[in-house]
Structures are given as C-alpha cells and as structure tokens.
Amino acid sequence: MSAPPGETLVVREAGGRVAHPALPALAGAALARLGPGLRAALAILGFILLWTLVTASGLVNRELFPSPGMVWSAAVELWDEGALGSDLTASLGRAATGFVLGSVSGILVGLLTARTRVFSVALTPLLTLLRPIPAIALVPLAIVWFGVGEGSKYFVIGYTVFLAVWLNTHHGAAGIAGTYIRASRSLGASTRREFFEVVLPAAAPHIVAGLRMGAALAFLSLVAAELSGASSGIGYRIQEARQFFRTDRLFVGLIELGLLGALLDVAFVAVSRRVIHWEH
C-alpha cells in the first residue's frame, strides 16, 4: 500500500524540484538518519519543553493546566499511595476480561453472519443499528442488568470490543478469495475441513485486525465503564481527581491511558505479526 519509505526521498533529491529546500527539508534529511525510537523520544522531549514553557509563562491557571513538574509529583504521590499499581491491575484486568468476552463472541457471531445467510440476514441490521450507540449510553442499562460489580464493566467493555471484532471478522470471512474455497473443494476437503483449515486462517488477518481495534476500544471504554461502581482503576482515579480538583492527578490518569494504550498496540502488532506471519 505504501511506497518503500526511502524511495520518495530519493525521488525528491533527484528531482531537485523543491522550490525552497530550506530548513524543513534539511531538518527532515537529518531526522531521517535517526532511528524511529530516537525520533519519537526527541518529539516527546520537545513537547514537554513546550508544555513547561507554556505553564511557566503564567498565561494559564496552573491549577487547571498543571506543569509537567506538577504532574510528575502527582504521579510520584500516586505511586507512594500504592494507587498507581492497584489502578493498573484493576483496569488491565477489566479491560482484559471485557476484551476476551467481546472478542470471542465477536469472532463467533462474525463467522456465523459471514458464512450463513440466515444469520447474516437476521443479525446484520441489528448490529448495524447497535454500532452508533456508544458504550457510555449503555452504562445505565448495564448497571440495571448486570449490577454494580464487575459484570457491568465487562459488559460495557465487551460490547464495544464485540462490535469491532464482529465487523472485521464478518468482512474477513465473507471476503475470502473464491479460489481458496475452490482449491480446497477440488482437493477433496470436507465442509468441516474447509471451515477450520481454510476459512478460519484465511479470515485470520481480518480477525486479528479486529482484535487490535478491539484492544484499543477496550481501553477507550474503560473510563466509561469505571464511571460508576468502581473504587479503583484508572477511570475511577480520573473521576476522583476531578472531584478533588486535582488536575495534576487527572493528567497522570490521561497520560497513563495514552502510554498504556500505545504500548499495548505496539505489543499487539508485534504478537500478531508472528501469528499472521504470512501477511508480512
């Protein structure tokens, strides 16, 4: 889908058509030589510097827009309280459980709707109507139906995960190249073998893409799920920080979400590259 990363640059250098090959181009060429990790670190350092300058300038209310130093102190405070660790455990546990529930059901329903017309006709319109309903709108129902314990949180997280995984699985399993099916049949495979040995692996890249999206969504719906009925977790801690006007602690929560989510995604991509090794 994308051109080899180096090539565009070569064309540009060879073309010599850039009207002002000034600072951006030169900086770009210099940056190209750094590794991707180093580049990201540099960008984040630059951002923190900017952030420090803005808060130090006195233009903003630091209680509402804390400086990096204040956020760091708040993180240390949360760590000393032991809240950082326990929040992580609680949130990751919830996200993981909701993710497993949502993705298992999403894969099953997706395979059903993709490969059996009756299920497709019966379920696709309903699922299409469910998609625009956000998890947060379902929190009240979740509490009523599943109680204030972990059940409702699993439901809210699992719901968003389910929709993403179902959609991807459905498209993957419905769009399998006809030649795979033809090859399988003309090699004498039974319907059962066709399903397990051809349909499933052929849809696997899409399923894994759905799982990746689902993992991101499990994270995104965590805050909504922990709004009510939780007494630990990142979402809870964000709520608590809000109640006590601790914007610095709120920022810690947001940064936790950002870092964890990004790390999770990187880990997910690394693992899925191994599972779906033939796609790369």
Binding site: I143, G147, S228, G229, Y236, Q243, F245, R246
Partner: protein, 300 residues
C-alpha cells in the same frame, strides 16, 4: 440589563430563591438578566466557574471546601438553604433498621462528595464499619433494588426518584444532623469587576427569600411551575419542610467547612493547605450580603 451567567442544576427545591426572584421580576428590577446554564452536578458548575465560564453558581458546600483547599479564585456569597432530612435509604431485604444494622454491609454512594462525608462521619460516630461502593447518583436506586448494595446515600434532590423506583420497599434510616448546605458562589473575577451587580443579585435573592417566608404556598406554586414535569406541587409541598430556607452567612457554614476540610485532608488526596477556620472564612465574601441585609451575616 446586565447578563449574569448562573450555573444551575436540578436545584428547584434546594435554591427556590433563584426561581422566585426570576418569576417575581426581582432580577429585572435590579437590572440583571440571569442566564441559567444547567449542569448535572454542582461540581461541574463549579468547574465552569473556575474556568471563567460562569459568573455565579449554585451548589452544595462541598465543592467550595475542595476549591478553597485548592486555592481556587472564587467566593461564597451566601447560604440559600439547608437540607435537614438526610437519610440513608434501604430496603427490607437488608434487614437493617439503624446504622448499626449496616455493619459489614455495602453502602452505595458517590465517592468524593458531601454524601460520603456524611456517611463516613456517622459510621465513625456509631463505631460501625461498612463497605463503601462508589456509584453515580442515577445508579444508586437500581443497585439497591438489585441487591448489589444494602443501603444507599444520595443527594437531596434524588429521594423522590428513589422512592418511586423502590416502591413499597423504600425504607429510610435516620442519620446525624448533617445538613447539606446550598450556597451561591461567585468567581473572584466577577466580584472584583462588578461588586455592584453582585450586591444587587444578592438583594434579589434576599427579597425572594422574604416572599418564601411570607407566602410559602405562592413560592411553592412558582417552583412547581418552573420545575415542570420533574416535580409535582404535592411533592414540593411535602418536602418543603425538609429544608431550612434563608439567605444567610453564619458560623455554622464555617464549622461545616472545617469539618469537611479536615475529613478531606485525612483522605490524603488534598493535603497542601491546613483546613483552618481562617482559611474558609477567607473564602466567604460577606460584603454583598452585609450591604443589603446586615442582620443575616453572623460570621465570627
């Protein structure tokens, strides 16, 4: 007409002065056009006040305590009412008939609010240990109904809804004399820029307060009309006595703020400031109320 933005919630019963002053035209007479902006909670209105989005807001005292400890630029102008009928709500299924009966049981409430302060204080006084479950107000009655928790504590405005949902299973447990204290607060900016308007606003509330005392039935009609479907006239009449109305500034407010401040500090989340009476006194701007009704200001 000077436009004043006012943070507002489902406070029809908690702060009827605003509705009455509006209806009677006292604001208009004072050259003020209040613009009510609705919020789900006093907390959010307070956030908007701090962010410079509101001139004044109505809320319970608790966010003011936190805001003072966090040195936010605002001031309390006056107390509007005190809700003196706080209760824990339970069902027969819990088997509890008093606070002691909740020992080891689950109590659902919104954590980090005056409700938690109230329950904590009472449990401590009674020497009872119970498990607190954090729930947003709308989730409290269904959680109790489902039996996820054994009792709930909620904000004054939510008792009616809880009674409706629980039906004949609705039971109340008496609690201590904690009174939710509803205040009107202004941003420091607004106070500094327009002290005259602030005073006129307070004056309009004081006039409304007097009407409520002299003609409660008329005031109740006004509230019923303004509240629309959310409240019925009968409900308003039945609950009227659960409030002690009065635009005042008294020592009781400071006492309560100190108690809450100490409680918050014990929880360890806000610990940069000493919750002293002097600190909270400094968060109250008594000049406007003093200028229109000096007798109601009895601060130490």
């Amino acid at each position: 007409q000077k436009v004043v933005t006012v943070g507002w919630g489902s406070y029809s019963m908690d702060a009827p002065q605003v509705l009455v002053a509006s209806e009677k035209g006292y604001f208009k007479e004072a050259g003020i056009a209040p613009k009510l902006i609705p919020f789900q909670s006093g907390r959010e209105g307070f956030e908007a006040l701090i962010g410079g989005q509101l001139d004044v807001t109505v809320m319970a005292e608790f966010p003011a305590v936190v805001g003072t400890l966090r040195k936010q630029p605002f001031a309390v102008l006056a107390v509007l009412s005190r809700f003196v009928a706080n209760r824990l709500i339970t069902t027969p299924a819990s088997g509890a008939t008093d606070l002691a009966g909740l020992s080891g049981k689950k109590i659902g409430l919104p954590v980090g609010t005056n409700v938690q302060f109230m329950v904590d204080e009472d449990l401590k006084r009674a020497g009872v240990k119970a498990q607190i479950v954090n729930l947003t107000p709308p989730d409290l009655p269904p959680a109790l109904l489902r039996g996820d928790v054994d009792a709930i504590a909620t904000f004054p405005g939510a008792f009616g809804g809880a009674r409706r949902i629980l039906g004949e299973r609705y039971r109340e447990l008496p609690v201590s004399a904690y009174a939710t204290t509803f205040v009107v607060a202004a941003s420091r900016d607004f106070l500094a820029k327009d002290p005259a308007t602030t005073a006129k606003l307070v004056e309009a509330l004081v006039r409304a307060d007097e009407v409520m005392k002299s003609d409660p039935a008329g005031a109740q009609d006004i509230v019923a009309k303004a509240a629309g479907k959310a409240l019925t006239l009968e409900g308003i009449r039945a609950d009227w006595d659960k409030y002690r109305y009065g635009v005042v500034l008294d020592g009781g407010l400071i006492d309560l703020m100190v108690r809450e401040g100490t409680w918050i500090r014990e929880r360890g989340i806000v610990r940069d400031t000493e919750p002293s009476a002097a600190l909270f006194r400094s968060a109250v701007a008594d000049a406007p109320l003093k200028s229109v009704a000096p007798a109601t200001v009895t601060l130490p």
